[in-house]
Every structure is written in structure tokens, then in C-alpha cells.
């Protein structure tokens, strides 16, 4: 019985918190970088730099991953090569 009332309280608190978040959109805009761009160049700078900051880490991680995969393949190929003088078809 006590557990059911705790769950109801939690649900009510969640509902009230959700209502506050949804009902206060003006407060959500009050961050330091939320202001309208001055002109075309300023707007372009915002867009370009947003794309730059978003894509740069992805490009770096992608590049690193590509390099590691290539390097591992090269190592695998190197290790699978028969040693000089060793027969490739030896089965015993």
C-alpha cells in the first residue's frame, strides 16, 4: 500500500515538472548564446561554425577509426604471409 502511494507521488512530481518545463519556453531561450544574428555575415558565421564544430570531432574519430582498421588489415596480411622458405600448402 505504501509502495503504491510512493509511486503515485513520483508520477505526480514528474507530471508537475513536465508541466513546468513545457509551460516555461521563454526561460529556455535565456541562455548566453541565444540571440538573433546581426546580419547575413553573422548568421552565416553561426551556421558555418555550428557545422564546423559538429563535423570536426566526427571527422577526426572517423579518420582515426579508418586508420586503425587499415593498419590492422596490413598487420593481418603481414602475419598471414608464409615465412621465407616455408611451404604454403603444407598440411602436416
Amino acid at each position: 500500500m505504501r509502495r503504491r502511494s510512493d509511486a503515485a507521488c513520483t508520477a505526480l512530481a514528474g507530471f508537475v515538472a513536465s508541466c513546468l518545463v513545457v509551460g516555461q519556453p521563454a526561460s529556455a531561450l535565456a541562455c548566453a548564446v541565444c540571440f538573433s544574428a546581426k546580419d547575413e555575415a553573422n548568421r552565416d558565421a553561426f551556421l558555418t561554425m555550428t557545422a564546423f564544430m559538429t563535423l570536426l570531432p566526427l571527422a577526426m574519430l572517423g579518420g582515426a577509426l579508418y586508420w586503425v582498421v587499415r593498419r590492422m588489415r596490413a598487420i593481418d596480411e603481414q602475419q598471414s604471409l608464409p615465412a621465407p622458405g616455408e611451404s604454403v600448402s603444407s598440411s602436416d
Binding site: A37, N42, A45, M49, F52, I75
Partner: protein, 186 residues
Amino acid sequence: MPAARRQQVAPNGVIGISIFVIAEMMLFAGFISAHSIVKTSALEGWPPPGQPRLPIGETAINTAALLLSGLFLVLAHRAFHRDAAAAMRKLAVAIGLGAFFVVFQGAEWVALLGEGLTVTSSTHGGFFYLIVGTHALHAMAALGVLIWAFLRFRGGRLVMSELMTAEIFWYFVVGLWPILYWRVYL
């Protein structure tokens, strides 16, 4: 049967310095991003009136010296196994050109401070010293690593993985500078 030991993908130094470089690239990306937005939102134009203009021509020469330094390091890498003496000479030239860049930057700063461009004189000055200064710190640190590599080379103790670690750091400093020159000076 014991599992076959897998060969390491890259030396520890190379992996470590690569992670460091990736982190530092994000730091500079943040600087460039903030600078670009502040530059385009400046009400009185950029650079602000009354503030000294940055020495574009002189810094272009300095940029060329830094790029040349990177080129000599590539040549030193190629000659490492073939001709150790030639590799050491090329490494020394790369260090010399790098030192020239750092000293020239210092002289440029002294001149700009004399003309009234300080960290607090304007956002232009603040950004200039923050971005170029952070790069200069990296250049000095990387130069120190190159000198350390050179001393080990001279003592016959330098191995390729150590040279590669120093190289990656220096290539970062060299590769980043033209971007900073384009964004901050031009």
C-alpha cells in the same frame, strides 16, 4: 593452445600524442568558432577602429618558415633509416626554422604591445593573444620535444616511434598555423 599475440597497431607514444592532438584540435576549433562569430558581430567593424593592424606580410614570411620546417621534418623521417647523418641535419634545420618562427612571433608581439594592442585593449586584442598565444605555447612545447629527439638522435638512442611521436606534435603545430593565419590575420 595459447592465443597468438597480436602486433600493436601503433606505438604507445604515437597513440598518446594523437589523442592529445585531437583534444587540442577541439580547443582551437572552439577558439576559431568564437572568434568568427564575434568578428562578424562587431558593430564598428573588424579590427575595431583605433586598434593596430596585424602584420600580414611579415607573418606570411614566418608562416613560410614554419611550413618549411614541417617539410624538413618529413625529409628527416624519410632519411632516418637510409642516412642517419642526413636525417640529423634535416632535423636540425627543422628545429632551426621552428625556433625562428617562435622568436619572430615574440618580436611581433613586442611590436604590437608597443602599438597598443593588449589583451584588454579590445576583443580583437583579446582574441589575438589568446589564439596566437595558445598556438605559441604549443609551438614551444613541440620545439622542446623536437630538441629532445635531436639530442637522443645525436646520442644514437632515438628510435623511429619516438621520432614519429615528436613529428605528430610538430605537424599539428605546422598544420594548424595556416588556418589561424587565415582566420586571425586575413
